[in-house]
Protein backbone atom coordinates (compact mmCIF):
# COMPACT_ATOMS: atom_id res chain seq x y z
CA UNK A 1 0.00 0.00 0.00
CA UNK A 2 1.32 3.40 -0.93
CA UNK A 3 2.59 5.56 1.91
CA UNK A 4 0.86 8.64 3.20
CA UNK A 5 2.69 11.94 3.68
CA UNK A 6 3.92 10.93 7.09
CA UNK A 7 5.23 7.67 5.70
CA UNK A 8 7.25 9.52 3.08
CA UNK A 9 8.60 11.87 5.74
CA UNK A 10 9.48 8.95 8.00
CA UNK A 11 11.43 7.22 5.23
CA UNK A 12 13.32 10.41 4.43
CA UNK A 13 14.18 10.85 8.09
CA UNK A 14 16.20 7.62 7.79
CA UNK A 15 18.57 9.50 5.48
CA UNK A 16 19.59 11.87 8.26
CA UNK A 17 22.99 11.50 9.85
CA UNK A 18 24.18 12.73 13.20
CA UNK A 19 25.36 16.32 13.02
CA UNK A 20 23.61 17.14 9.75
CA UNK A 21 22.46 20.66 8.97
CA UNK A 22 19.26 20.33 6.98
CA UNK A 23 16.91 22.60 5.07
CA UNK A 24 13.37 21.28 4.79
CA UNK A 25 11.03 22.73 2.18
CA UNK A 26 7.35 23.48 2.61
CA UNK A 27 4.82 20.59 2.63
CA UNK A 28 5.89 16.96 3.10
CA UNK A 29 9.54 17.93 3.73
CA UNK A 30 8.51 19.90 6.83
CA UNK A 31 7.05 16.69 8.30
CA UNK A 32 10.49 15.06 8.26
CA UNK A 33 11.25 17.04 11.44
CA UNK A 34 8.70 14.89 13.29
CA UNK A 35 10.55 11.64 12.57
CA UNK A 36 14.18 12.37 13.38
CA UNK A 37 15.55 9.04 14.66
CA UNK A 38 16.55 8.61 18.29
CA UNK A 39 20.21 9.38 18.90
CA UNK A 40 20.55 11.49 15.77
CA UNK A 41 21.10 15.22 16.26
CA UNK A 42 20.07 17.36 13.33
CA UNK A 43 19.99 21.16 13.06
CA UNK A 44 17.28 22.63 10.86
CA UNK A 45 17.95 25.76 8.83
CA UNK A 46 15.29 28.18 7.75
CA UNK A 47 16.41 30.32 4.83
CA UNK A 48 14.78 33.44 6.24
CA UNK A 49 17.54 33.53 8.83
CA UNK A 50 17.43 30.85 11.51
CA UNK A 51 19.64 27.92 12.33
CA UNK A 52 18.01 25.71 14.94
CA UNK A 53 14.26 25.62 14.22
CA UNK A 54 12.27 24.32 17.16
CA UNK A 55 8.68 23.06 17.41
CA UNK A 56 5.68 25.26 16.73
CA UNK A 57 5.01 27.55 19.71
CA UNK A 58 2.15 27.40 22.16
CA UNK A 59 -0.45 29.93 21.11
CA UNK A 60 0.42 32.29 23.94
CA UNK A 61 4.07 32.24 22.93
CA UNK A 62 3.74 32.78 19.18
CA UNK A 63 6.18 35.55 18.20
CA UNK A 64 5.57 37.55 15.01
CA UNK A 65 9.33 38.16 14.76
CA UNK A 66 10.06 34.43 14.69
CA UNK A 67 8.82 32.59 11.63
CA UNK A 68 10.06 29.92 9.24
CA UNK A 69 10.44 30.19 5.47
CA UNK A 70 6.81 29.13 5.11
CA UNK A 71 5.89 32.20 7.22
CA UNK A 72 4.60 30.00 10.03
CA UNK A 73 5.32 30.91 13.63
CA UNK A 74 8.06 28.69 15.04
CA UNK A 75 10.40 28.58 18.01
CA UNK A 76 14.19 28.64 18.16
CA UNK A 77 15.99 25.89 20.05
CA UNK A 78 18.69 26.62 22.61
CA UNK A 79 21.97 27.09 20.74
CA UNK A 80 20.36 28.56 17.64
CA UNK A 81 21.49 31.62 15.70
CA UNK A 82 19.69 34.35 13.76
CA UNK A 83 21.18 36.08 10.71
CA UNK A 84 20.20 38.06 7.63
CA UNK A 85 19.14 36.61 4.28
CA UNK A 86 22.51 37.18 2.59
CA UNK A 87 24.25 35.18 5.32
CA UNK A 88 21.55 32.53 5.12
CA UNK A 89 22.10 31.95 1.42
CA UNK A 90 25.85 32.27 1.80
CA UNK A 91 25.47 29.26 4.07
CA UNK A 92 23.40 27.42 1.49
CA UNK A 93 25.43 28.43 -1.58
CA UNK A 94 28.72 27.82 0.18
CA UNK A 95 27.84 24.14 0.70
CA UNK A 96 27.46 24.32 4.48
CA UNK A 97 24.04 22.67 4.48
CA UNK A 98 24.32 18.89 4.31
CA UNK A 99 20.89 18.03 3.01
CA UNK A 100 17.96 19.75 1.34
CA UNK A 101 14.56 18.09 1.12
CA UNK A 102 11.99 19.65 -1.15
CA UNK A 103 8.87 18.90 -3.17
CA UNK A 104 8.59 18.79 -6.96
CA UNK A 105 6.14 18.79 -9.84
CA UNK A 106 8.51 16.71 -11.98
CA UNK A 107 11.91 15.05 -11.69
CA UNK A 108 13.75 13.90 -14.80
CA UNK A 109 16.04 10.90 -15.29
CA UNK A 110 19.03 13.25 -15.37
CA UNK A 111 18.19 14.88 -12.04
CA UNK A 112 16.51 17.99 -13.45
CA UNK A 113 13.69 19.29 -11.30
CA UNK A 114 10.58 21.41 -11.96
CA UNK A 115 8.89 22.74 -8.89
CA UNK A 116 7.92 26.37 -9.16
CA UNK A 117 5.90 27.32 -12.20
CA UNK A 118 3.04 25.88 -14.17
CA UNK A 119 2.32 27.76 -17.39
CA UNK A 120 -1.18 29.22 -17.35
CA UNK A 121 -1.33 29.28 -13.57
CA UNK A 122 -0.47 32.25 -11.36
CA UNK A 123 3.26 32.25 -10.79
CA UNK A 124 4.14 32.93 -7.18
CA UNK A 125 7.89 32.85 -7.61
CA UNK A 126 10.74 30.50 -6.97
CA UNK A 127 11.54 31.77 -3.47
CA UNK A 128 14.73 30.07 -2.34
CA UNK A 129 14.23 26.82 -4.25
CA UNK A 130 16.61 27.62 -7.13
CA UNK A 131 19.36 28.63 -4.70
CA UNK A 132 18.87 25.48 -2.67
CA UNK A 133 18.90 23.02 -5.56
CA UNK A 134 21.88 24.71 -7.20
CA UNK A 135 24.00 24.56 -4.09
CA UNK A 136 23.09 21.87 -1.57
CA UNK A 137 25.46 18.91 -1.40
CA UNK A 138 22.63 16.44 -1.30
CA UNK A 139 19.08 16.92 -2.52
CA UNK A 140 16.20 14.58 -1.82
CA UNK A 141 12.83 15.14 -3.43
CA UNK A 142 9.75 14.25 -1.39
CA UNK A 143 6.69 13.75 -3.55
CA UNK A 144 3.87 11.48 -4.54
CA UNK A 145 4.93 9.19 -7.37
CA UNK A 146 2.10 10.44 -9.61
CA UNK A 147 -0.03 13.57 -9.63
CA UNK A 148 -3.76 13.69 -8.92
CA UNK A 149 -4.57 12.57 -12.43
CA UNK A 150 -2.25 9.58 -12.18
CA UNK A 151 0.41 11.18 -14.36
CA UNK A 152 3.96 10.18 -13.40
CA UNK A 153 6.17 12.77 -11.74
CA UNK A 154 9.32 10.74 -12.48
CA UNK A 155 9.74 11.38 -16.15
CA UNK A 156 12.20 11.24 -19.03
CA UNK A 157 12.54 14.98 -19.45
CA UNK A 158 10.91 17.80 -17.53
CA UNK A 159 8.07 19.50 -19.39
CA UNK A 160 7.58 22.37 -16.93
CA UNK A 161 9.98 25.30 -16.39
CA UNK A 162 13.03 24.04 -14.51
CA UNK A 163 14.10 24.89 -10.99
CA UNK A 164 17.54 23.36 -11.42
CA UNK A 165 19.47 21.01 -13.67
CA UNK A 166 21.01 17.65 -12.79
CA UNK A 167 20.78 18.27 -9.09
CA UNK A 168 18.40 15.71 -7.56
CA UNK A 169 20.19 12.74 -5.98
CA UNK A 170 17.30 10.76 -4.54
CA UNK A 171 13.51 10.69 -4.71
CA UNK A 172 11.32 9.34 -1.95
CA UNK A 173 7.71 8.87 -3.01
CA UNK A 174 4.63 7.16 -1.62
CA UNK A 175 5.62 4.09 -3.69
CA UNK A 176 9.41 3.89 -3.73
CA UNK A 177 12.88 5.16 -3.05
CA UNK A 178 14.57 5.97 -6.35
CA UNK A 179 18.17 7.06 -6.84
CA UNK A 180 19.12 9.33 -9.69
CA UNK A 181 22.23 7.74 -11.22
CA UNK A 182 24.24 8.65 -14.30
CA UNK A 183 22.28 5.84 -15.99
CA UNK A 184 18.93 7.23 -14.87
CA UNK A 185 16.35 6.30 -12.22
CA UNK A 186 17.35 3.31 -10.13
CA UNK A 187 14.81 1.60 -7.91
CA UNK A 188 16.20 1.10 -4.42
CA UNK A 189 13.25 0.29 -2.18
CA UNK A 190 9.54 -0.39 -2.48
CA UNK A 191 6.84 0.92 -0.14
CA UNK A 192 5.40 -1.94 1.89
CA UNK A 193 3.12 -4.03 -0.32
CA UNK A 194 3.85 -2.12 -3.52
CA UNK A 195 5.21 -4.27 -6.34
CA UNK A 196 8.05 -3.48 -8.72
CA UNK A 197 5.55 -3.72 -11.54
CA UNK A 198 3.29 -1.09 -9.99
CA UNK A 199 6.26 1.24 -9.54
CA UNK A 200 7.39 0.68 -13.12
CA UNK A 201 3.92 1.49 -14.36
CA UNK A 202 3.84 4.69 -12.32
CA UNK A 203 7.26 5.79 -13.59
CA UNK A 204 7.38 7.43 -17.02
CA UNK A 205 11.15 7.53 -17.12
CA UNK A 206 13.13 4.33 -17.60
CA UNK A 207 13.56 2.55 -14.27
CA UNK A 208 16.62 0.45 -13.56
CA UNK A 209 15.72 -2.58 -11.47
CA UNK A 210 18.60 -4.78 -10.37
CA UNK A 211 18.00 -7.93 -8.35
CA UNK A 212 15.52 -8.11 -5.52
CA UNK A 213 14.15 -4.76 -4.42
CA UNK A 214 13.61 -4.73 -0.66
CA UNK A 215 10.65 -3.18 1.08
CA UNK A 216 11.24 -0.04 3.13
CA UNK A 217 11.67 -0.72 6.80
CA UNK A 218 9.46 1.83 8.49
CA UNK A 219 9.08 0.16 11.86
Amino acid sequence: MALDKNGIAKRIAQELEDGYYVNLGIGIPTLVANFIPEGIEVTLQSENGLLGIGPFPKKAEADPDLINAGKQTVTALPGSAFFDSAESFAMIRGGHIDLTVLGAFEVAENGDISSWKIPGKMVKGMGGAMDLVAAAKNIIVATTHTDRNGKSKLIKKCTLPLTGVGCVKKIVTDMAVVEVTPQGFKLVERAPGVSVEEIKNATEGALIVEGDIPEMNLS
Partner: protein, 230 residues
Amino acid sequence: MNKVVKDAKEAIIGMSDGCTIMLGGFGLCGIPENTINALFDADIQNITCISNNAGVDDWGLGRLLRKHQLKRIIASYVGENKEFERQLLEGELEVDLIPQGTLAERIRAGGAGIPAFFVPAGYGTEVQEGKEVREFNGKMHLMEMGLTADYALVKAWKGDTHGNLIYRATANNFNNMMAAAGKITIAEVEELVPFGELDPNYIHTPGVYVQRIFKGVDYEKRIEFLTTSD
Protein backbone atom coordinates in the same frame (compact mmCIF):
# COMPACT_ATOMS: atom_id res chain seq x y z
CA MET B 1 25.71 62.64 14.23
CA ASN B 2 22.07 62.85 15.18
CA LYS B 3 19.90 61.32 12.46
CA VAL B 4 16.62 61.30 14.30
CA VAL B 5 13.50 62.54 12.56
CA LYS B 6 10.13 62.92 14.26
CA ASP B 7 8.09 60.30 12.50
CA ALA B 8 7.49 58.44 9.25
CA LYS B 9 5.96 61.50 7.59
CA GLU B 10 9.12 63.51 8.19
CA ALA B 11 11.29 60.54 7.26
CA ILE B 12 9.92 60.28 3.73
CA ILE B 13 10.33 63.95 2.86
CA GLY B 14 11.89 64.16 -0.59
CA MET B 15 10.55 60.84 -1.84
CA SER B 16 8.78 61.41 -5.11
CA ASP B 17 6.88 59.64 -7.86
CA GLY B 18 8.96 57.18 -9.86
CA CYS B 19 11.51 56.43 -7.15
CA THR B 20 13.06 53.02 -6.59
CA ILE B 21 12.77 51.64 -3.08
CA MET B 22 13.98 48.61 -1.19
CA LEU B 23 11.65 47.35 1.48
CA GLY B 24 12.84 45.07 4.26
CA GLY B 25 10.90 42.14 5.60
CA PHE B 26 10.09 38.51 4.85
CA GLY B 27 6.36 38.10 4.39
CA LEU B 28 4.97 40.46 7.03
CA CYS B 29 7.86 39.77 9.42
CA GLY B 30 10.13 42.76 9.94
CA ILE B 31 8.42 45.13 7.51
CA PRO B 32 8.68 48.91 8.10
CA GLU B 33 5.00 49.38 8.90
CA ASN B 34 5.13 53.06 9.71
CA THR B 35 7.05 53.99 6.58
CA ILE B 36 4.78 51.95 4.32
CA ASN B 37 1.76 53.67 5.80
CA ALA B 38 3.38 57.06 5.29
CA LEU B 39 3.99 56.23 1.61
CA PHE B 40 0.33 55.27 1.40
CA ASP B 41 -0.77 58.55 2.95
CA ALA B 42 1.60 60.61 0.79
CA ASP B 43 0.26 58.76 -2.26
CA ILE B 44 3.65 58.48 -3.93
CA GLN B 45 3.17 56.93 -7.37
CA ASN B 46 4.98 54.77 -9.91
CA ILE B 47 7.23 53.17 -7.35
CA THR B 48 9.66 50.43 -8.32
CA CYS B 49 9.89 48.23 -5.25
CA ILE B 50 12.55 45.67 -4.41
CA SER B 51 11.15 43.42 -1.71
CA ASN B 52 11.31 39.67 -1.10
CA ASN B 53 7.51 39.46 -0.99
CA ALA B 54 4.53 41.63 -1.83
CA GLY B 55 2.58 41.74 1.42
CA VAL B 56 -1.01 40.57 1.80
CA ASP B 57 -4.13 42.20 0.44
CA ASP B 58 -4.66 44.75 3.17
CA TRP B 59 -1.29 45.02 4.87
CA GLY B 60 2.33 45.78 4.10
CA LEU B 61 3.11 46.32 0.44
CA GLY B 62 -0.44 45.15 -0.28
CA ARG B 63 -1.71 48.56 0.83
CA LEU B 64 0.37 50.38 -1.79
CA LEU B 65 -0.59 47.78 -4.36
CA ARG B 66 -4.30 48.30 -3.87
CA LYS B 67 -3.86 52.01 -4.32
CA HIS B 68 -1.94 51.34 -7.54
CA GLN B 69 1.17 53.08 -6.24
CA LEU B 70 3.50 50.38 -7.53
CA LYS B 71 4.73 50.20 -11.10
CA ARG B 72 7.13 47.32 -10.77
CA ILE B 73 8.01 44.74 -8.14
CA ILE B 74 11.31 42.87 -7.90
CA ALA B 75 10.78 39.92 -5.57
CA SER B 76 11.37 36.21 -5.06
CA TYR B 77 7.91 35.11 -3.97
CA VAL B 78 4.62 36.94 -4.34
CA GLY B 79 1.92 34.53 -3.18
CA GLU B 80 -0.66 35.41 -0.55
CA ASN B 81 -2.04 38.40 -2.43
CA LYS B 82 -5.10 38.32 -4.70
CA GLU B 83 -4.92 41.94 -5.79
CA PHE B 84 -1.34 41.36 -6.84
CA GLU B 85 -2.45 38.47 -9.00
CA ARG B 86 -5.16 40.55 -10.62
CA GLN B 87 -2.88 43.51 -11.43
CA LEU B 88 -0.26 41.18 -12.81
CA LEU B 89 -2.66 39.30 -15.06
CA GLU B 90 -4.18 42.55 -16.33
CA GLY B 91 -0.80 44.05 -17.08
CA GLU B 92 -1.10 46.85 -14.53
CA LEU B 93 2.05 45.75 -12.74
CA GLU B 94 5.48 44.59 -13.87
CA VAL B 95 7.09 41.80 -11.90
CA ASP B 96 10.65 40.48 -11.92
CA LEU B 97 11.08 37.23 -10.06
CA ILE B 98 14.56 36.50 -8.76
CA PRO B 99 15.82 33.51 -6.75
CA GLN B 100 15.81 34.54 -3.11
CA GLY B 101 19.49 33.95 -2.45
CA THR B 102 20.45 35.80 -5.61
CA LEU B 103 18.20 38.69 -4.61
CA ALA B 104 19.78 38.83 -1.15
CA GLU B 105 23.28 38.72 -2.59
CA ARG B 106 22.55 41.29 -5.29
CA ILE B 107 21.43 43.69 -2.58
CA ARG B 108 24.46 42.88 -0.44
CA ALA B 109 26.69 43.45 -3.49
CA GLY B 110 25.00 46.75 -4.27
CA GLY B 111 25.75 48.08 -0.82
CA ALA B 112 29.29 46.70 -0.91
CA GLY B 113 30.30 48.29 -4.22
CA ILE B 114 30.47 45.00 -6.10
CA PRO B 115 28.91 45.54 -9.51
CA ALA B 116 28.71 41.88 -10.51
CA PHE B 117 29.35 38.35 -9.24
CA PHE B 118 28.71 34.75 -10.17
CA VAL B 119 26.28 32.26 -8.60
CA PRO B 120 25.08 28.80 -9.61
CA ALA B 121 21.38 29.46 -8.88
CA GLY B 122 19.19 29.61 -11.95
CA TYR B 123 21.63 28.02 -14.37
CA GLY B 124 19.72 26.07 -17.02
CA THR B 125 16.42 27.71 -16.03
CA GLU B 126 14.55 30.69 -17.42
CA VAL B 127 16.39 32.85 -14.87
CA GLN B 128 19.43 32.42 -17.10
CA GLU B 129 17.87 34.38 -19.98
CA GLY B 130 20.07 37.26 -21.10
CA LYS B 131 22.76 36.53 -18.55
CA GLU B 132 26.38 35.67 -18.97
CA VAL B 133 27.06 31.99 -18.26
CA ARG B 134 30.44 30.87 -17.08
CA GLU B 135 32.07 27.75 -15.70
CA PHE B 136 34.07 27.86 -12.48
CA ASN B 137 35.40 24.77 -10.73
CA GLY B 138 33.54 22.53 -13.17
CA LYS B 139 30.18 24.07 -12.35
CA MET B 140 28.10 26.51 -14.40
CA HIS B 141 27.32 29.93 -12.99
CA LEU B 142 25.35 33.02 -13.96
CA MET B 143 26.64 36.56 -13.69
CA GLU B 144 24.36 38.65 -11.49
CA MET B 145 24.51 42.40 -10.87
CA GLY B 146 24.56 44.44 -7.68
CA LEU B 147 21.34 46.26 -6.80
CA THR B 148 20.89 49.65 -5.17
CA ALA B 149 17.87 51.88 -4.65
CA ASP B 150 17.06 55.55 -4.16
CA TYR B 151 15.66 54.72 -0.76
CA ALA B 152 15.96 51.73 1.52
CA LEU B 153 13.15 51.42 4.05
CA VAL B 154 14.09 49.16 6.92
CA LYS B 155 12.74 48.17 10.29
CA ALA B 156 14.86 47.28 13.29
CA TRP B 157 14.23 46.30 16.88
CA LYS B 158 16.56 48.80 18.52
CA GLY B 159 18.38 51.75 17.08
CA ASP B 160 20.38 54.65 18.42
CA THR B 161 20.53 58.29 17.43
CA HIS B 162 23.62 57.60 15.27
CA GLY B 163 21.65 55.13 13.20
CA ASN B 164 23.18 51.94 14.57
CA LEU B 165 20.64 49.11 14.31
CA ILE B 166 19.93 45.78 15.97
CA TYR B 167 17.34 43.36 14.61
CA ARG B 168 15.41 40.73 16.50
CA ALA B 169 15.08 37.04 15.58
CA THR B 170 14.01 36.41 11.97
CA ALA B 171 12.79 40.01 11.58
CA ASN B 172 16.31 40.79 10.32
CA ASN B 173 16.02 38.98 6.97
CA PHE B 174 16.47 41.51 4.12
CA ASN B 175 16.66 44.61 6.34
CA ASN B 176 20.36 44.41 7.10
CA MET B 177 21.59 44.27 3.50
CA MET B 178 19.05 46.78 2.28
CA ALA B 179 20.19 49.34 4.84
CA ALA B 180 23.57 49.39 3.06
CA ALA B 181 22.12 49.48 -0.45
CA GLY B 182 19.93 52.56 -0.24
CA LYS B 183 21.27 55.93 -1.35
CA ILE B 184 19.11 57.22 1.47
CA THR B 185 18.24 54.71 4.15
CA ILE B 186 15.30 55.32 6.44
CA ALA B 187 15.16 53.14 9.53
CA GLU B 188 12.21 52.79 11.83
CA VAL B 189 12.78 51.13 15.18
CA GLU B 190 10.69 49.84 18.03
CA GLU B 191 13.08 51.27 20.57
CA LEU B 192 15.14 54.38 19.95
CA VAL B 193 17.97 54.95 22.42
CA PRO B 194 20.64 57.64 22.85
CA PHE B 195 23.94 56.77 21.16
CA GLY B 196 26.25 54.90 23.47
CA GLU B 197 23.53 52.65 24.86
CA LEU B 198 23.91 49.82 22.36
CA ASP B 199 26.85 47.47 22.81
CA PRO B 200 29.14 48.14 19.80
CA ASN B 201 29.92 44.42 19.60
CA TYR B 202 26.32 43.59 18.78
CA ILE B 203 25.41 46.19 16.16
CA HIS B 204 24.01 44.54 13.03
CA THR B 205 23.86 47.65 10.84
CA PRO B 206 26.51 50.29 11.58
CA GLY B 207 25.10 53.81 11.59
CA VAL B 208 27.10 54.86 8.53
CA TYR B 209 24.46 53.19 6.36
CA VAL B 210 21.49 55.01 7.89
CA GLN B 211 20.54 58.58 7.00
CA ARG B 212 17.26 58.98 8.92
CA ILE B 213 15.90 57.13 11.93
CA PHE B 214 12.69 57.39 13.93
CA LYS B 215 10.76 55.56 16.58
CA GLY B 216 7.87 53.70 14.99
CA VAL B 217 4.47 53.60 16.67
CA ASP B 218 1.46 51.29 16.85
CA TYR B 219 3.17 48.20 15.49
CA GLU B 220 0.63 45.59 14.46
CA LYS B 221 3.19 42.90 13.61
CA ARG B 222 0.61 40.76 11.89
CA ILE B 223 1.23 37.03 11.74
CA GLU B 224 0.63 35.47 8.35
CA PHE B 225 0.29 31.85 9.43
CA LEU B 226 -0.22 31.38 13.12
CA THR B 227 0.89 27.79 13.62
CA THR B 228 0.91 26.42 17.12
CA SER B 229 1.57 23.20 18.97
CA ASP B 230 -1.50 23.42 21.17
